[in-house]
Symmetry: C2
Subunit: 271 residues, 2 copies
């Protein structure tokens, strides 16, 4: 490949970093790909690091040693996070989202890439640097958010299912009490899906009573694995009998009533 | 904001374009954000467009008119696509993936962001420019791939479920014959999830007989909506009674047998 100028090199390095969050990329990779000396690439990276830092658009970290290189850690600045969450609250608190039983229809939000990709960057920043092996979720609405958080953290996603499928091979299943329905439910996980001794975080769309989170703890125990943290998009503050208080939410439902309407606010972490 | 130099500007513009695929962004947005004249931003964009084009890393298109601007269309070059798919075939054809019933365990692949994000760029390129309103899938294994394809195409994802949930409001359900189990199954979709008269593509992990795809056509009819295309990661070429031949696959299973092992090859589109 012919030599490129600095402008062109920083475009390519930026693109590769952003598409591979939390993955260590050796300077040799860029050096060979772009036909430039490692010292030149290092200068390019300083430019990228400084401007991303200045605009609160993420961190470029240098990892020393033989397996070293650089990695990109997605971040969104405080001001932009607040603006994003306020808009999300407005969108989610539309009274037409109320469905019978005082539930909130948020499926469209949970499957909208332009919302979920940003929410995941904000949520993942609470778990960055915690040396996580997997993100775990339960099907279905939380899958895109959990997937995006896993991507931000550079780890695979594992998804527990309501029942076992023939394509999953042998599975482990546990029972738990759902906060939504109050019923005893089942969740299953393929034996092949998780290495024993793993550290996981649980990401989901909604936190109500926390029954599902408790189920995840039990399920992980079957794999000799540990739950290191919980993150949800929406916390229902009206569910009072919470099994756990140890989780992070982005926005909180503080009122949901057929007559009074819906009130949702950014969580205390963003005040 | 102080004036930035060209190097810094192209980093920021590249980042924003890549994080918002297929979304039109006005030059004014960059001009205000970066405190630079529109003519300067235009020159920056030419640099980005040319180098991405040269390295087959995506297209930057200019949209004229009042609602105009630029948009980024993710692409992966032919050589890199082939290399990626060959590696994927190697990974997927490991004999330890065989589970009883001659099924292939690929759940880990379907939930691995580093694989699925690339596969989605390749898959989405077959549907780009087709004026799609939604990507649709059926829970659960296909959700990350369908989500990423939706992101590449700049549209929302819609996910049909096996049974209706209280949080979905009123739903439409149809029955179909599953290719995997041969059983009659149900899929449901919330009334709120899809606007009538929409154009959709169906993205899934596996194509066997095509029963699920046929179910999707029936389901979309209930919303006066139309299926414009089908894309899957893996096609099982051993399923001979296919309901449809009108789909795109990335890799094809050509042998799967407890004694003979598994053989998977890149689909004919990549030869």
């Amino acid at each position: 490949m012919e030599k490129l100028n600095r402008n062109s090199r920083v475009v390519i390095i930026t693109k590769i970093l952003i598409e591979n969050p939390n993955k260590i990329i050796g300077l040799n990779y860029f050096s060979e790909m772009l036909n430039a000396a490692k010292s030149t690439i290092s200068e390019d990276i300083v430019i990228i690091r400084e401007i991303l830092d200045k605009l609160s658009m993420g961190k470029v970290e240098t990892i020393a040693g033989a397996a070293g290189g650089i990695k990109f850690i997605p971040k969104i600045g405080k001001g932009e996070s607040q603006k994003f969450l306020e808009n999300l609250c407005k969108l989610a608190s539309d009274y037409r989202r109320l469905v019978p039983g005082n539930f909130l229809y948020v499926t469209d939000i949970m499957f909208d890439p332009s919302i979920i990709s940003k929410a995941a960057i904000i949520l993942s920043s609470f778990f960055d640097g915690k040396d996580i092996d997997y993100v775990i979720t339960v099907e279905t609405k939380g899958v895109p958010l959990a997937y995006e958080v896993a991507k931000c953290l550079g780890v695979p996603l594992v998804t527990a299912r309501r029942d076992s499928k023939v394509t999953e091979g042998s599975t482990v299943s546990i029972n738990y009490v759902s906060g939504t329905s109050g019923k005893i439910q089942q969740m299953c996980l393929s034996r092949k899906s998780l290495k024993t001794g793993s550290k996981c975080i649980f990401i989901d769309d909604f936190m109500r009573g926390g029954g599902t989170a408790k189920g995840i703890v039990d399920l992980l125990k079957e794999f000799d694995s540990e739950l290191m943290g919980i993150g949800v998009l929406i916390d229902n503050k009206l569910s009072t009998n919470k099994v756990t208080r140890n989780y992070v939410s982005l926005i909180d439902v503080v009122e949901i009533d057929e007559n009074l309407g819906v009130k949702i606010v950014p969580s205390d972490l963003f005040k």
